[in-house]
């Protein structure tokens, strides 16, 4: 097993039900969960590869290939619906020229939809990585992306 991976998942091997936190950790470090990782995780957690794939594919957050450095999640739940989030989604997808679950060619951004960010009193809401934007507009989202890209 690659030394790198074992270091990442080592803290979770002795935990009951440690596969989920291990998957989060792999993804946080490596960006996604590769085919090789799946084989290694199966050995480490003493389960079949099918079981690992089973878990990965059930959850929206886990992914099997690289996506954008910045993940933009546009809330489409009821409270944001009342604040025209469908229009916002339409504006953002056309601004970036991407559909939902698509990644830009330069791997800078991925657009996703999400159902509730818990920011329901000041919607519509968009989350860029770990940051929630309230009363979101295309302009606010684009500006925040600029800030992130300059900071890097």
């Amino acid at each position: 097993m690659a030394k790198h991976l074992i270091n990442i998942i080592n803290p979770f091997l002795d935990k009951k039900g440690g596969l989920m936190p291990a998957l989060h950790a792999v993804q946080d470090h490596l960006g996604f969960i590769s085919k090789d990782n799946i084989g290694e995780l199966a050995i480490a957690f003493n389960c079949s590869q099918a079981e690992v794939i089973d878990v990965i594919t059930f959850y929206d957050d886990f992914r099997l290939k690289a996506i954008g450095k910045n993940i933009i999640k546009i809330c489409q739940a009821e409270a944001c619906q009342s604040q025209n989030c469908k229009e916002l989604l339409h504006n953002l997808t056309s601004h970036f020229g991407l559909n939902i679950n698509e990644t830009s060619n330069d791997l800078n951004i991925t657009l996703k939809e999400v159902f509730c960010l818990g920011n329901c009193a000041i919607g519509p809401s968009v989350m860029i990585n770990d940051m929630v934007i309230g009363e979101a507009t295309t302009e606010k989202v684009v500006n925040q992306l600029k800030v992130i890209n300059t900071e890097e």
Binding site: F45, V55, D60, D61, F62
Partner: protein, 510 residues
Amino acid sequence: MTEVTKIFIPNETSANSVGANLLHQIIKKINNDEGIKIIRNGSWGAFWLEPFIEIEKDGIRQGVSYRNIDLSHLNTIEEFFLDFESRNPFDINDIDFIKKQNRIVFSRIGNEDPLNIEYYKNTNGYQSLSTAFEIGPQETINLIKESGLTGRGGAAFPTGIKMQTVFDQDSSLKYLACNADEGDGGTFSDRLIMESDPFALIEGMTIAAYAVGASKGYIYLRSEYPLAKDYLLKAINIASDNHYLGNNIQGSDFNFEIELRIGAGSYVCGEETAMMESIEGRRGLVRSKPPLPAITGLFKKPTLINNVVTLATIPPLLLKDQSNFSKIGSNKSVGTMPFQLSGNIKNGGLIETKFDITLNEIVEDFGSGTQSGDPIHAIQIGGPLGIYLSSSMLNTSLTIESLQELKGSVGHGGIIVFDNSVNMAEQAKFAMEFCVKESCGKCTPCRIGSVRGVEIIERLQKHKTSKEDAILLHDLCETLESTSLCAMGGMTPNPIRSIIKFFPNELIEK
């Protein structure tokens, strides 16, 4: 010379979503006075005011809403004070939105740095854990039973009875699982506790674990709440350092530890059996009940499962001088309920109040009507599986009983306001679409029925008068309700039926 001693700038998701972090950076940068302490407090839950910055001056605390106000041109802290004074600062406790509430569980939010354990202790914190240690597990459970507390996650099951069941199990290993997978659209009360008063949850969990005999607790937190994760991890560490978690808590022989688990974007994992599957490291497929989790739960051991607000409500119940909780309300609707007012609303936020309050009082007296200024057309109560009420039903009381009569539920207390631009047929379709997206796939009616439901509603959108489709939708709803294992499939018909009933001709024309 300045008399200002403290500046409060909230660090909470909603406040940060409209610029609190940015304002903090600016004010921190220009503050060259060592005598002025900048505190990142929690939010008061009056979200339309955020970012609400407060200043304590000569012991008097007043605040100003800095929504959409840029301060980047300021050079000195004195300039900031001048700007602040020019904006008519006021005491948040003087506004009706706060004054009219009955804050028992949310009494601390907004006041201080949520990680200030000294403040927590000085405001009755950890008194109830001492009480529990004094009176013992059974007496603690008795007090919770007598309080009338029911689960605030959605199902409203009596908390004390659940605890008694776990207590009665003969097992050397028991678990506590806190459901922090607050996935209902339009809800944020759990998030607010975790971000603005995390020790309240930790103390509540510790008391509950002591009462039922659990030695290990999990918090299953949704991944959409990164700031809550940050606060919880820090608060768990601080509690451990202060011997409120770990071995021999406060010199007793009680051991209890908490592990934080992060979800991965699945709504159905808020269902307790799916949540257990997820904590055990599998797909979030729901389990059949029985066996009840209280008997055979996590890792096949007896497990107490409650949501965040329920657990955070336990400490106030055990306070000697403050048993007000049970005196509020009647029947099932005892105590306070944190309603979360959101959507197209002028003044949205967290409203902790008695259950027996009308929808009109919530959306007009607290909320001041729609944000758009257009008339209210519909209000959804209780999340994606909750019913829609029409504008003619604003005198509905929000008790558990009165919503049950309307074939709905208070659920987790979410109240979402829609103005007259809403298309109710679209909302009905969304209920089915959401079920398509979030169904765990175990039960056929939920997995496939929801797909058929979307198709039927799409046909009805073209031909509202189709009798055939109206009957088909009715039958489908009945099948979903009576043959699904969990509330996901079982309650998906609720919003749809309410639209058919309370919004005649908007989905189906007779």
